[in-house]
């Protein structure tokens, strides 16, 4: 069968999602797909466009998995805008005049930013805010500007204002309507938002109708308003709404709306049955949907149609929750109480700057809409009430009144939700799908996230996901046993608190008070680590030594043949030639296999246990310290060479890396910790794949947290931006100690954050805003660890009693006879079983 020719115009988020839906069907090979995009790059995440200013690169914003187009045989033509459609001949013609035939045509041409027709609007410092190229132009324009004005106080306008602020400009927002975010917010909500935005140093000018832009007297431009007022500025960004890109459809004679938009039916077909339109260019039921989620729904529907499957677009919920300039803002359903007979409840706290309003039907038993500003934690619950028509409690205002002690929670129990209730709106995951995943064995938040994608978008639904999981597990009679092992009826977190609060200094004390039996290889190292974090006694002190894993006991890493590898600390990866020579000499003398690690250190392999003290003495005498490669502790702080040498370096990444590494050296933690510091946003140190990642920017250090490489890579989350060094260190102190307190045994920071209720927002609240009031405590505990640090190698080689432990045999000075080696590429390595003949005996 001949493949059908499918032409897609537009390669934005929605156009790309359509291709993904087609590819996911497994039947994409029925089509010969050609995609035209006018931008120079493949689809990227426009929703998170502002992160471009935080150092996120264009590549990172890309939505396209490498090899996606090739794997599915899709042809992508970037920078190739189409100039005309001929529905009669079923062809499209590009700007170069080439003509392409189609059997089906899909329009995903998106929208363009509306620029009001003002005189003077096309100056060289006047911009719009939609593409990466726009952002690059704004960045360049900001270089010789001090003041920036955004025209438009909607959602995108406020994001643009934030971006200008980040670029170091004094930012203003000019809005025609009498309040900010007029579409989503009522007057009270808009007022509260304005107050908060002004406090952040952004000027807000509402009810201003810009009449013209003329050369300024003190600044580049002057904006003259209809009321006679004016504002001088160096740079202007227009963000006054979007208009559908319907010009191709219009010229081709397809039906378009009076105010623009390509008219589509429930199957996303235009007035020509061979042509579909989806996303912001499409007009459904007289409405344009300017959010990505409805566009994704349309993409699914159009793909289903082409594949001969059922599906219909039936409108979309336009509720939104977002953080604008750090302010939580949410709008649900009928936020303006436009429904006849509706009744409102409003709560306002001017001190805490919180505004909440709910709109209830005339009978008072169903929620129609809501507005939340300053605090949006009830968004998930309210949205469920609204979307699922759940009966409200007797006093609906309880839903927005603050919960005081003893009041009990009025949150909506997941039990009340129907199976169709959408739990995760980013990925459209229903309660039913999550329950099914739990049936299939996903019994942790982490497993649910990877199994269903729920909670992996904005993360706002994770608390609801968690309570749903708990309820469902309880229903199945599954009690999740979180005891660390048979010796303690406690979790690691509980043991930590028992040790800390009880002032317990040894495993024996803890076991006598809170455990049973003798302990095992699970609880002993875990408790040893907790004791080390809390009191930082020498880990080989008599009561602690038998608790340690062999690696900690012998302060080196056991390899497969029972010998050890040794990793001296090389802070920040910076090493003097003198130290390098000593390491080389030691490796040569003891015939140690030598390899550079992934963490900018040097690993020396094949040391027998009785050789360790001699090797360390040599290293310690040369000024080297233990690298803790054997411990669940800080491993390394990787760095790029930074501004010291690099042409592009913005700040001294090596200096900061060394300072951080020396600061946290020896901190015992639930699992290993890896840091990195990059000197600019080129990110050569790969800090966004580390537990703690720091990147230098023009405005200070950006702090990334809870990333991971290894088995399950996780991109780190941006926790705070533009920090000075002392603030950065304070945050890292708090975060690490909070992790040490609350993580499970052997839980990396990445998994810890995934499972932390409230996610990144909660972590920020604890670490930055000190929501729990424990910041001082955390800092003091970290201070104790830092002040009591001693190099374990040095302490051990100085202590004859400890050295007894390193004797291979208690009754002989003989060396072990079982070790076999072969030489390869000039070094020795353990012999394989099949190499018995040519192996040499280890000496």
């Amino acid at each position: 069968m001949d493949r059908q020719r499918l032409v897609v115009l537009g390669n934005g988020m929605v156009g790309h999602q359509f291709l993904v839906a087609l590819a996911d069907s497994g039947r994409a090979d029925a089509f010969e797909v050609t995609v035209f995009g006018e931008e120079p790059r493949a689809a990227y995440d426009r929703v998170h466009l502002s992160e471009f200013f935080d150092g996120t690169s264009a590549d990172e914003l890309s939505l396209v998995q490498p090899g996606f187009y090739e794997a599915h045989g899709f042809t992508l033509r970037t920078s190739d805008p189409v100039a005309a459609i001929d529905p009669g001949a079923r062809t499209v013609t590009n700007a170069a005049g080439e003509t392409f035939g189609y059997d089906h045509l899909l329009l995903a041409t998106g929208s363009y930013p509306f620029v009001p027709p003002l005189p003077g609007r096309d100056g060289d410092h006047c911009f719009v805010y939609r593409t990466i190229e726009d952002l690059e132009a704004i960045t360049a324009g900001a270089a010789d500007s001090e003041i920036g004005v955004v025209v438009g106080g909607g959602l995108l306008g406020l994001e643009a204002a934030n971006a200008l602020k980040h670029l170091g400009l004094q930012a203003h927002v000019v809005e025609f309507a009498p309040r900010l975010m007029a579409v989503q917010l009522d007057e009270g909500g808009g007022d509260m938002l304005r107050r908060k935005v002004e406090e952040l140093g952004v000027g807000v000018h509402t009810g201003r109708n810009t009449r013209e832009i003329v050369p300024g007297e003190t600044r580049r431009y002057r904006m003259n308003f209809a009321d006679g007022e004016c504002l001088e500025t160096d740079l202007i960004v227009f963000s006054a709404g979007i208009r559908p890109r319907d010009e191709l459809a219009r010229h081709a004679g397809l039906q378009v709306g009076e105010r623009g938009g390509i008219v589509i039916d429930d199957q996303c077909r235009t007035s020509d049955p061979n042509i579909f339109a989806i996303g912001e260019c499409a007009l459904w039921g007289g409405r344009i949907f300017g959010l990505v989620a409805p566009g994704y729904q349309m993409a699914k529907v159009a793909a289903a149609q082409l594949l001969g499957e059922e599906g219909a677009f039936t409108g979309a919920d336009m509720s939104t929750k977002l953080k604008l300039l750090g302010v939580d803002v949410a709008s649900i359903g009928d936020a303006h109480a436009a429904t006849k007979g509706s009744v409102c409840y409003t709560y306002q706290d001017q001190r805490a700057q919180v505004y909440k309003r709910i709109v209830v039907n005339a009978e008072g038993d169903r929620l129609l809409g809501a507005v939340l500003v300053g605090e949006a934690k009830d968004y998930g619950t309210l949205l469920q009430y609204c979307l699922n028509g759940i009966e409200l409690p007797d006093h609906p205002d309880d839903l927005i009144l603050p919960q005081r002690a003893g009041g009990g929670s009025l949150g909506l129990g997941p039990d009340k939700l129907p199976d169709t209730a959408q739990i995760c709106s980013c990925h459209d995951v229903s309660k039913g799908a999550i329950v099914a995943a739990i049936d299939d064995g996903c019994t942790t938040i982490g497993a649910l996230k990877s199994g269903t994608c729920a909670g992996t978008g904005c993360g706002g639904c994770v608390p609801l996901l968690k309570s749903l999981l708990d309820v469902e597990l309880a229903k199945r009679g599954l009690e999740v046993n979180t005891d660390i092992c048979e010796h303690f009826p406690h979790t690691r977190q509980e043991l930590y608190h028992l040790v800390r609060v009880g002032g317990l200094r040894t495993f024996a004390e803890l076991l006598a008070k809170h455990g049973r039996g003798r302990g095992c290889d699970i609880c002993k190292p875990a408790v040893a680590s907790i004791l080390a974090t809390c009191w930082n006694d020498y880990v080989l002190e008599a009561p602690h030594a038998p608790l340690q894993d062999t690696n900690d006991t012998f302060l080196a890493n056991m390899q497969k043949d029972g010998t050890y590898s040794i990793v001296p600390r090389v802070p920040g990866g910076e090493i003097t030639p003198e130290k390098l020579i000593v390491m080389g000499e030691v490796a040569k003398e003891f015939d140690l296999y030598t390899k550079i690690t992934g963490a900018q250190r040097i690993d020396l392999f094949g040391a027998r246990v009785e050789q360790l003290p001699d090797i360390w003495r040599r290293l310690v005498d040369a000024g080297l310290e233990s690298g803790h490669a054997y411990a669940k502790a800080l491993r390394t702080v990787k760095s790029c060479v930074g501004s010291t040498w690099c042409r592009y370096g913005v700040d001294d990444s090596v200096g900061l890396a060394i300072e951080l590494e020396n600061r946290y050296t020896g901190l015992r933690s639930p699992h290993k910790l890896k840091f990195a510091v990059s000197g600019c946003t080129r990110e050569c140190a790969e800090a966004q794949g580390k537990d703690i990642g720091v990147i230098a920017t023009e405005h200070g250090w950006n702090l990334y947290v809870c990333g991971n490489g290894g088995m399950k890579p996780r991109h780190a989350d941006l926790c705070a931006t533009a920090l000075d060094k002392s603030t950065l260190i304070t945050y890292v102190d708090r975060l690490l100690m909070f992790y040490v307190r609350t993580a499970d045994r052997l839980q990396r920071t990445s998994v810890w954050l995934e499972n932390l209720e409230g996610g990144l927002d909660y972590l920020r609240a604890v670490v930055i805003e000190d929501k729990l009031g424990i910041a001082a405590e955390l800092e003091a505990e970290m201070g104790h660890v830092i002040n009591t640090y001693e190099c374990e190698w040095k302490k051990t080689v100085d202590d004859p009693e400890r050295l007894k432990r390193f004797r291979r045999f208690v009754n002989s000075d003989a060396a072990e006879t079982g070790l076999r080696y072969v030489r390869e590429r000039g070094q020795r390595r353990p012999a394989r079983e099949t190499e018995g003949d040519k192996a040499e005996v280890g000496a």
Binding site: E486, H487, L547, K560, G562, S812
Partner: protein, 128 residues
């Protein structure tokens, strides 16, 4: 430390070989002795009865001589050492591997004679 506790094995060995002094032992951990070319892991649990245990030092699963460097504890009431390589548990009294009983290790009689630790010939045959 003057007790003369007998090892778990009931049959008295033909010969007792002194291997080290009591003060060479490490409470709640292991040391290793070399006996006629065989490596023996000796564990000292001061508050257990008996308090001395000796098993083959060779980990039959990891294939290396490392068991004396494992963590000592109890599982379901049995005294065990966890291999430092892949964490299988070996019963200190009978040498049985809890996870893979067919890969168990030999045990040796061991006792404290005055200040001397003495090991006898193996009283169960390794299954490997």
């Amino acid at each position: 430390m003057t007790e003369t506790s007998l090892a778990a094995a009931s049959d008295a060995p033909a010969e007792w070989v002194p291997v080290c002094g009591a003060d060479d032992l490490i409470p709640n951990a292991g040391v290793c002795a070399l006996l006629a070319g065989r490596e023996v892991a000796i564990f000292y649990l001061p508050d257990a009865q008996p308090s001395l245990y000796a098993i083959d030092n060779h980990d039959p699963i990891g294939g290396a001589n490392v068991l004396y460097r494992g963590i000592v504890g109890d599982l379901g009431g049995r005294l065990v050492v966890a291999s430092p390589l892949y964490k299988q548990h070996f019963d200190l009294a009978c040498g049985e591997c809890l996870e893979e009983p067919e890969r168990s290790v030999s045990v040796y009689p061991v006792r404290l004679a005055g200040d001397q630790v003495e090991v006898g010939s193996p009283c169960s045959i390794s299954h490997t």
